[in-house]
């Protein structure tokens, strides 16, 4: 592709400029993605070099360190205690003790079973006393996987702490050599509300995220590589075990032989993905532009009662969504308020198929989503609209711009520039907008053609509601849900990547900063 | 009251950008030192490193002989005035000034005495109960200074304290800072981008560019003997004129030949050149606008054409163009010209100018260093 210099670009016609920009954008996508992977490669290389450097430093510290340092390699915190930093040292020692105790008592067990998630499933045992069979339970794959992952986390934390312990010895030695004083335990405690205050503040939130977000996500990603489902629940009926990439194969092969006959997961996936993207696009941009429109209407000079109009809209934000969504969903049902009223007025003979026809349902959810979304967007855009410098409009007016031109040349570029990141998160948020779809349609109406592969699928099902249906459906194919979840992640990540890496380059022109 | 010593101080940001290179400076007790330079030269970064608001990447900062690199700002015995004042918006003026005293658990009646005394000194007593947003720029500035005053600190740091004020107020506050300095009798480090402030306030001036120190000296030193082209151009307004020309050594006698006019070097400058035994060579000749004068008849003179005539009141700035279209600025006291002469000074008017041999500056065109330093 030919690159124009600035001067050449300026001589292009409007149409040529547009084509040039479009081509630059499209060319930019693979370049941007390539660049991203290149960055990842560099990061991996740097990481590797860093690890090598760490090992070297560990060795060097050992060779040059005094005996206190050397003992600390085995007894964590010894160096700290010996040099007078008792509090720190005791904490290190305590951590080591807890770690060793945990590994011996339980951690070792979970770790040893992690390779095939348990050996012995439940067995029927004959009980001669009662002359009956009863089930004896043994390994629990679910717990093995969960606590195995937790144990791995713990080991990583231990290695890191051990490394910090070694490093501290080195630093302490240096400080003592230079004749300065080490920080006392009291200093350490004081620094927790001062220069180390961020550690205090972050401790609790990060532990929460680690245990209740990171751990579950790691677990569920791993589930995609097992055969965990309703009939292999890991304990009471059968164990589950690793199956490698088989589930991904199932999802992406065109036809799969199942008990219910030949089925195509990839067709179902594709169909739902297309609708998910369509939905996210419409949901995001209808709300965005209409919300901006309402905000501009209320903001217009000379419109009175601005506060009242805003309050009316904002009030609907306060009402919990499940009430408004469920109510509206029933309002549009076959025998709901709307249909009954219209029929009562003899405007229609048969109820309108709001939720029973594929197209009607899709359009209706988008429209109801506008009803839900406009107040938020109105609020967000109001603030930004008021921040657009008034002199931009004044100068545009003097230059002879009409109202419409002012909108397309000033308001819109400014808004897009400021709200770019918001639009992205809003788009991905809508892809995962479970509540609106589930409470309005429950995914329906049923899409017979796509259903079957993994239970019943509807025309308004998003990937996220499909995922939900798979997990809660008849055979609870958790492994499949996990694959779908990973695919959702991949799609969201790809979109974010493209937007982050490519958009700024063509947005530079509209730099309002 | 303390000395401040910076040794090999360096600031490297995470993205490997070096903001300050090997900064060495010895600030004596009770000295008023001004860091001056264009934006991005590292002057504020250096000040913030002294304050402890920025990590020191390399080197040491000593206050009163104690290395303070690892000390928190509050433990360094400093007070600081910020560019945008940084007044706590939710506190009254009184509470703003009292904040630091209360943090160090000073008894309330001592706080009262100190705050009211500082307020009196600064003339803001009547505003003590107001919130900062109800104050004008100048008043906010005074509150910020008051807040720093009550700390009884060893070193007083000021980061462009006047740059948010209008020109008139700035002149007024400048005078007050000089008075304040006499009252406080402590070490001052003052950052500004304005050379006038630097010249009028500083005992010594540190001129910086791109993270390097260009020159350290008293205002007179940097004005009379700028170390390089940058300092020569930065200090003094309007800017010094630079002319690419030749220095000629004719048997121990020196001449310069700007625009083909041969002018002798005289006085101290000639002696210094001789002492260094400088030979004939290319130079950048520097002459300050106030040192150029209109030539009298018969004198060797540079022929120029007037482009713009700026009447400044007490003086006139003439922007002139030589035959090879080099621009020069000439600054003439208004009283030196008769009314007729002034009226004749319109664009296109031909002027012959010249300058004395003792006011010339000679710079190496390659290294841009002053030949005589």
């Amino acid at each position: 592709m030919k690159r124009y210099s600035d001067m050449e670009y300026l001589r292009l016609s409007k149409w040529q400029k547009f084509v040039y920009k479009l081509v630059s954008f499209l060319v930019g996508i693979p370049l941007g993605i390539g660049h991203f992977f290149q960055k990842i490669g560099i990061a991996i290389k740097d990481g590797f070099l860093k690890i090598v450097a760490e090992f070297k430093d560990i060795g060097v510290t050992f060779i040059h360190g005094d005996w206190k340092t050397k003992v600390s390699y085995v007894v964590m915190g010894f160096g700290n205690i010996a040099r007078g930093q008792v509090l720190r040292g005791l904490l290190f020692l305590l951590f080591e003790a807890v770690f060793i105790f945990y590994m011996i008592t339980t951690g070792g067990y979970w770790l040893s079973k992690l390779d095939n998630l348990g050996d012995q499933g439940p067995v029927e045992v004959y009980d001669p006393v009662f002359d009956s069979y009863k089930t004896e339970y043994h390994d629990n794959s679910f717990k093995i996987l969960l606590y195995g992952v937790l144990t791995v986390f713990f080991i990583v934390a231990f290695i890191y702490t051990w490394r910090v312990n070694v490093k501290q010895n080195k630093i302490s030695e240096e400080i003592i050599r230079s004749g300065k004083k080490l920080r006392s335990g009291k200093d350490d405690l004081k620094s927790l509300v001062d220069d180390q205050f961020h550690k205090t503040l972050l401790a609790l939130p990060l532990v929460g995220i680690l245990v209740f977000t990171v751990l579950p996500i790691v677990f569920m990603v791993l589930v995609a590589f097992t055969n965990y489902d309703g009939s292999h629940n890991g304990y009471s009926n059968a164990l589950f075990t690793w199956v490698g990439f088989k589930n991904f194969g199932t999802m992406f092969s065109w036809e799969v032989n199942t008990a219910a006959g030949l089925q195509s997961y990839s067709a179902t996936f594709g169909e739902i993905l297309v609708w998910t993207l369509m939905w996210a696009f419409f949901a995001t941009f209808t709300n965005y532009f209409l919300g901006m429109g309402v905000a501009m209407a209320i903001n217009k000079k000379g419109i009175r009662l601005k506060r009242m109009w805003r309050t009316i809209l904002v009030m609907t934000v306060a009402i919990p969504q499940f009430i408004s969504l469920l109510y509206v969903s029933k309002m549009f049902a076959q025998n709901g308020l709307i249909n009954q009223m219209l029929m009562g007025m003899n405007l229609i003979k048969n109820p309108l198929p709001f939720w029973t026809d594929a197209i009607w349902a899709r359009v209706t959810v988008i429209i109801i989503n506008i009803w839900i979304g406009i107040p938020y967007l109105m609020l967000i855009t109001t603030g930004i609209l008021m921040n657009i410098p008034a002199d931009l409009y004044e100068s545009a007016k003097i230059d002879g711009a009409s109202g419409w031109k002012q909108f397309t040349k000033i308001t819109l570029p400014y808004m897009l520039f400021i709200t770019g990141p918001y639009l992205l998160t809003s788009f991905t948020g809508n892809m995962n907008n479970f509540n609106v779809i589930y409470l309005l349609t429950g995914g329906g109406p049923t899409n017979a053609a796509a259903s079957g592969a993994a239970g019943s699928v509807g025309y308004t099902d998003l990937l996220i509601t499909w995922l939900f249906k798979i997990t809660t459906g008849g055979d609870s194919q958790y492994y499949l849900a996990s694959v779908v979840g990973i695919m959702v992640f991949v799609v969201v990540a790809l979109i974010s990547l493209v937007v982050y890496n490519v958009l700024p380059s063509i947005k530079n022109e509209e730099d309002f900063q | 009251m303390a000395s401040v010593k910076l040794t090999g101080v360096k600031k490297i940001y995470d993205n490997k950008v070096v903001a300050v290179h090997d900064f060495d400076l010895d600030i004596k007790d009770k000295e008023f030192v001004v860091f001056v330079g264009p934006s991005g030269c590292g002057k504020s970064t250096t000040l913030r490193m002294i304050a402890g608001l920025e990590d020191i990447s390399e080197g040491t900062v000593e206050i009163d002989g104690e290395v303070v690199n690892d000390l928190q700002p509050k433990d360094r015995g400093i007070a600081m005035v910020f560019q945008n004042y940084a007044l706590y918006p939710h506190m009254s003026v009184y509470d703003n000034i009292a904040f630091s005293l209360r943090l160090s658990k000073v008894p309330e009646d001592v706080v009262y005495d100190k705050v009211t005394k500082a307020a009196e000194t600064l003339g803001i007593t009547e505003y003590l109960m107001r919130k900062p947003r109800a104050l004008s720029g100048g008043q906010r500035q005074r509150v910020a200074i008051g807040r720093a005053m009550v700390r009884d600190s060893k070193v007083f740091l000021m980061d462009e304290p006047l740059s948010n004020l209008d020109a008139k107020l700035r002149n007024q506050m400048r005078a007050e800072i000089i008075l304040l300095r006499e009252k406080l009798d402590t070490t001052f480090i003052y950052v500004t981008h304005d050379q006038t402030e630097a010249m009028t306030l500083g005992d010594r001036i540190v001129i910086m560019k791109d993270g390097y120190i260009m020159q350290v000296g008293t205002p007179t030193e940097v004005f009379e003997m700028p170390k390089n082209l940058f300092v020569a151009g930065f200090i003094g307004a309007p800017q010094m004129n630079f002319i690419n020309t030749k220095l000629i050594n004719e048997g121990g006698k020196y001449y310069v030949t700007p625009f083909g006019v041969k002018l002798p070097v005289e006085g101290e400058k000639a002696e210094m050149l001789a002492a260094k035994n400088v030979q004939t060579r290319d130079i950048v000749l520097g002459v300050r606008p106030e040192h150029i004068r209109l030539a009298e008849a018969g004198e060797p003179a540079i022929k120029t054409k007037l482009l713009v005539n700026e009447m400044m009141g007490s003086e006139i700035h003439l922007h002139v163009s030589t035959e090879d279209e080099t621009r020069l600025i000439v600054r003439i006291p208004t009283v030196d010209l008769s009314k007729e002469e002034r009226n004749a000074m319109v664009a296109g008017h031909e002027l012959s100018v010249t300058f004395e041999g003792k006011v010339m500056h000679f710079f190496d065109p390659e290294s841009s260093e002053n030949l005589l330093v």
Partner: protein
């Protein structure tokens, strides 16, 4: 003369467009408010409990509210209220810790941490429901004990939602922190004496959103309660009234419940609306 005429033209055009906008705003207001008016009316309808084709009840009465009182709704309401109250406190603390730190401190792991959380956020939360349920089940916090379980999970993962308040903290000039630190404040004192008083709008915003969230919490709450009515929150409980086999008995009661749920939240919201708007639009600190 000519000028004056033009001037009048401008004014008339303006009046026309303003009238159009007023009409538009009235229509919008009606559309936005009508469903809620419907709910209110139907909650007082006593002649039938199923969906009908008219809005104004033929017979007014409080029967639906009495039904509500006699159902498990009280329990659900209490459950939700407890969750909302506790979350409002804990979530606010956690989010403010997180956002303040990420806005103010520059430590080595800051960038990687923020990137890591961005990536975590791209995984659908739904995915982790199964395991969170099992973990809660293991420590006995499901079904009838769903309330502490929901609080635990909600609070623990709330650190990820730091963006809005971080945006607010970013607008408070950093030089205030620096001035306070020079004045002798520890980092903790900076937060407590300088930043928090200035952050009132965002604190209230965070409390408000954290309080409102649990009223609409549905999927996970249903999963955790697993069919045990004592562990339902209002959303899960009232959803069970609208299933195909229940709706004809419970439709109007649902409307009454909706009113009871929406009323306090809406009133609270309207009182604190100013802060909500300020939070959403990322208001700047004046000073």
């Amino acid at each position: 003369m000519k000028n004056e005429k033009r001037h009048m033209g401008l004014k008339a055009a303006n009046r026309l467009s303003n009238t159009a906008i007023y009409i538009l705003l009235v229509i919008i207001s009606v559309i936005w408010l009508l469903p809620f008016v419907f709910i209110l009316f139907q909650s007082f309808r006593v002649e039938s409990t199923w969906q009908v084709g008219y809005i104004i009840p033929q017979q007014w009465g409080l029967q639906n509210y009495i039904n509500l009182w006699n159902s498990d709704f009280k329990r659900w309401y209490l459950n939700t209220f407890i969750i909302a109250l506790v979350s409002a406190v804990l979530v606010t603390v956690i989010q403010l810790c997180m956002s303040y730190t990420l806005s103010r401190f520059r430590f080595k792991m800051r960038g990687p941490l923020m990137r890591f959380m961005l990536i975590l956020g791209m995984f659908p939360g739904m995915l982790t429901m199964i395991i969170l349920y099992r973990v809660l089940a293991d420590i006995g916090l499901t079904q009838a004990n769903a309330v502490p379980g929901l609080i635990l999970v909600g609070v623990a993962s709330s650190g990820m939602g730091y963006y809005v308040s971080k945006g607010f903290f970013d607008t408070i000039p950093k030089s205030l922190d620096e001035a306070a630190r020079v004045d002798g404040a520890t980092r903790f004192q900076v937060l407590y004496k300088i930043i928090l008083p200035l952050a009132k709008p965002i604190v209230i915003y965070t409390i408000l959103t954290a309080f409102m969230g649990p009223w609409g919490d549905f999927v996970f709450a249903r999963y955790v309660a697993m069919g045990t009515s004592a562990g339902y929150n209002v959303a899960v409980g009232m959803y069970s009234w609208l299933t195909a086999d229940q709706i004809n008995n419970w439709y109007t009661t649902f409307c009454a419940g909706g009113v009871i749920v929406a009323l306090p939240v809406t009133i609270l919201f309207l009182c604190l609306q100013k802060y909500y708007v300020e939070g959403v639009t990322g208001g700047a600190v004046k000073g």
